[in-house]
Amino acid sequence: QKEVEQDPGPLSVPEGAIVSLNCTYSNSAFQYFMWYRQYSRKGPELLMYTYSSGNKEDGRFTAQVDKSSKYISLFIRDSQPSDSATYLCAMRRNIYNNNDMRFGAGTRLTVKP
């Protein structure tokens, strides 16, 4: 069983829709949770960062962490064609071990005009 599970999609939605992307994980030691966005033929870039449980909002994006269920989500409101990308969840146990980042497989999202 993988430490981090993420539905690869693909997910296709119309412009303006609310998008929900999710990951589950098995290691309860993970405390730092991230979402990276990766455009086609580019490297991933950090989109959202959260520590422990709770919500974090940044513009149209909301990251949610439920440690009791080992489940994290990224919500995109009023989705735009420019949001079309692959979204990777990532998590780590602490900020001191740089080698313990674990990534999900990524969900490919297409937002149609």
């Binding site: 690869p8 991933p44 960062y49 990532a90 780590r92 900020i95 740089n98 080698n99 497989a105």
Partner: protein, 115 residues
């Protein structure tokens, strides 16, 4: 505005050949990483380096060699390429642990095909 650059961006080679992927960063970040990205597996860590002359294995190090003689460079060598090493390789860097929010800064990737 250089950031982190990888070369070559695309490479086709044959089984058994040696291949070196280059990575250069201009931020003076302490940490550098090599990941491979494959369908269904996401990003997997091959090797990382905490500083010049300090390297360590990641999740999938077999068949790869790294070195870091200078802070800004972190080349990855496939000593004898195999078809299973066909992948997209990403170099990344990050600041030291005390400043580390978990953000990795990635290059644009090197797409390697082994025939």
């Amino acid at each position: 505005d250089a950031g982190i650059t990888q070369s070559p961006r695309y490479k086709i080679t044959e089984t058994g050949r040696q291949v070196t992927l280059m990575c250069h960063q201009t931020w003076s970040h302490s940490y550098m990483f090599w990941y491979r990205q494959d369908l269904g597996h996401g990003l997997r860590l091959i090797y990382y380096s905490a500083a010049a002359d300090i390297t360590d294995k990641g999740e999938v190090p077999d068949g790869y060699v790294v070195s870091r003689s200078k802070t800004e460079n972190f080349p990855l060598t496939l000593e004898s390429a195999t078809r299973s090493q066909t992948s997209v390789y990403f170099c990344a860097s990050s600041e030291g642990a005390a400043l580390n929010t978990g953000e990795l800064f990635f290059g644009e990737g090197s797409r390697l095909t082994v025939l």
